[in-house]
């Protein structure tokens, strides 16, 4: 029976690569790109890892299932356990670490836990697979810029180390072993991990995702040649979740991005199918975006219908889990070439939506991955109780645009829309950030009967909040032109509330108006 070993090692880029190499049993002249990406990510000023605590052996449920399903049956079987590398931003050497652990034993663990939690950056599981060493990885996001939004990464992972409980907020990432699956499998695994956990369940393992592909059930080895759109959709459904699928090609880029933004800011990852320049299709999971700011300006997104318009803050970056690279990889939008613009005009379609990986300024080592890719389509796993899609929310917003524009008075040109899904209870808690009238806030919180998840259409004029329309997401729309029921209309002042009361009287159901 092997005993547990925990080694404290100062973090440097070469030391990290060396630990991964040794734990994977590999020998390489140059680390694989995923290891180089993690070196760079962890070395970045906004994270700046200083200490690694290397835990071995570590039994990882996700790897263990793959081991049982595949690796154990190989003639030259690989070990069933992994190594886990914990990362801290504080610098500890072996003696400082030992002193810290002894202090936990002697004077109580809470103080030591608090100290370690403050500098804990997460972990990287290293599989004993030299060709694809990076297993389940949960790392914090960069924290330095408030316009970066990583709502899907707001997922808590408890970590037990030396009897201490640490935690990290992260969306899990792993490098796909191509013997067992494809990028599509791992992108779905990351997205589903968030949705299944938020829904109260346990995250599926990569093997469970692969086996949920229609036709693969019962098979121990997944489809290494990749997954079609229908197979990806089938895998999500096979695990009990709804799917919203939509495409970018030949469609208005703003509307595609508005739907994507709605999901991502609701904490729901979006799986993108992208065509890289060589023509091969690849899948990534969107885990965040950067909104327009002074350093990285972005054009507003626009929801237009006839002469009505609502704008939404534009996106300058997408952050994606890309198994060719690593977690939270930064992608920028690439403007269409003149030739593409002319071709799109001739065909009567908007130009293709292109994105490209952007490494740090010193990241020339990632040049092979920096070519632009065309965004083809998106798949979104949805909680069973979200039966209203982002596009249905946006359609509902359109229906109320003329009235809301009227309520904006002379400032209708400044009308903005933020659409998102939220837990009903969470919405009632957070709405106090915009509704400051305590009497009306109290009434809303006491009287609103909300579904488990609600859709929120938040209209503002410039930076001033105007109205929230709170939508029931649990009703299935019977007709194409039906609107999801409005549960509550929340106004910024009583004059607007009076007009909304007249609106509510015209709608089916009994929306609460405050």
């Amino acid at each position: 029976m092997p005993s547990l070993s925990l080694n404290v090692v100062p973090f440097t880029k070469p030391a990290f690569a060396d630990q991964v190499r040794r734990a994977s049993g590999g020998s390489w002249s140059e680390p694989p790109p995923q290891v180089r990406y993690l070196q760079s990510y962890l070395h970045h000023d906004e994270i700046r890892a200083r200490t690694m605590v290397v835990e071995h052996p570590y039994v990882d449920r996700h790897y263990l299932q793959e081991f049982v399903g595949h690796y154990a049956t190989m003639l030259q079987a690989v070990p069933n356990s992994t190594t886990r590398i914990h990362l801290f931003s504080e610098a500890y050497d072996e003696s400082a670490w030992t002193a810290l652990i002894e202090r936990a034993d002697e004077s109580g663990i809470q103080e030591v836990e608090a100290e370690l939690r403050a500098s804990y950056l997460g972990y990287v599981v290293v599989r004993p697979l030299p060709a694809c060493p990076i297993g389940r990885t949960a790392l914090v996001t960069y924290r330095g810029v408030s316009s970066r939004k990583y709502a899907p990464a707001h997922m808590n992972h408890e970590v037990h180390l030396h009897g201490l409980t640490l935690s990290v907020e992260a969306l899990p990432f792993q490098q796909q072993d191509q013997a067992l699956g494809a990028c599509a499998t791992t992108a779905l695994w990351s997205a589903l991990a968030r949705v299944m956990r938020a829904d109260g369940g346990r995250a599926a393992t990569p093997l469970e995702v692969a086996q949920a592909v229609p036709g693969a059930r019962g098979s121990l080895v997944a489809s290494p040649e990749g997954l079609t759109f229908d197979e990806m959709r089938g895998a999500i459904r096979g695990l009990g979740y709804q799917v919203h699928a939509f495409r970018a090609s030949q469609h208005d880029n703003d509307e595609f991005l508005l739907a994507l933004k709605t999901y991502v800011q609701s904490g729901i990852p979006v799986v993108l199918r992208i065509r890289v320049d060589e023509g091969e299709l690849h899948a990534v999971a969107v885990t965040g975006f950067r909104l327009h700011d002074e350093d990285q300006p972005a054009r507003d997104l626009s929801l237009r219908a006839h002469h009505y318009e609502a704008k939404s803050a534009g996106l300058s970056r997408l952050y994606v889990h890309d198994d060719r690279l690593g977690p939270y990889a930064r992608f920028v939008f690439v403007p269409p070439s003149e030739e593409e613009r002319i071709k799109a005009d001739e065909n009567g379609y908007p130009p293709l939506l292109r994105i490209a990986f952007k490494a740090d300024s010193n990241g020339t080592e990632f040049e092979p991955y920096s070519g632009s890719a065309i965004v083809e389509s998106a798949l979104v796993p949805l909680y069973p109780k979200i039966r209203t899609t982002a596009t249905a929310l946006l359609e509902c917003a359109t229906e109320h645009l003329p009235l809301i524009s009227q309520l904006a008075g002379g400032r209708r040109d400044e009308l903005t829309l933020d659409s998102f899904f939220a837990l009903g209870g969470r919405y009632l808690r957070d709405v106090g950030r915009v509704l400051h009238d305590r009497a009306r806030l109290g009434r809303l919180r006491r009287e609103a009967l909300l579904s488990r998840y609600v859709g929120v259409l938040r209209f503002s004029v410039g930076s001033e909040w105007l109205v929230d329309l709170v939508i029931d997401t649990t009703d299935v729309l019977r007709g194409r032109h039906d609107s999801p029921p409005i549960l509550a209309c929340v106004a910024s002042d009583t004059t607007i509330a009076e007009s909304l009361r007249l609106l509510a009287a015209e709608l089916p159901g009994r929306a609460l108006v405050v």
Partner: protein, 58 residues
């Protein structure tokens, strides 16, 4: 709800007046008309290209 919402403040520019019931009905009817256009666009967005759907993401 994201941090983005924290920056928002209650409106300080009230609309000129309360709308009448007739105005609300007209604006809602107008909204239902223009919604059809957006629905048609989103319908197209949700209709996948069969060739693209058959391609395998590796």
């Amino acid at each position: 709800m994201t941090d983005e919402k924290k920056k928002l403040e209650p409106a300080v520019t009230p609309p000129p007046r309360v709308l009448t019931r007739e105005e609300v009905r007209e604006l809602l009817a107008e909204g239902r008309r223009i919604r059809r256009d957006v629905e048609a666009r989103f319908d197209r967005m949700e209709r996948l290209d069969p060739r693209e759907a058959q391609a395998r993401a590796r």
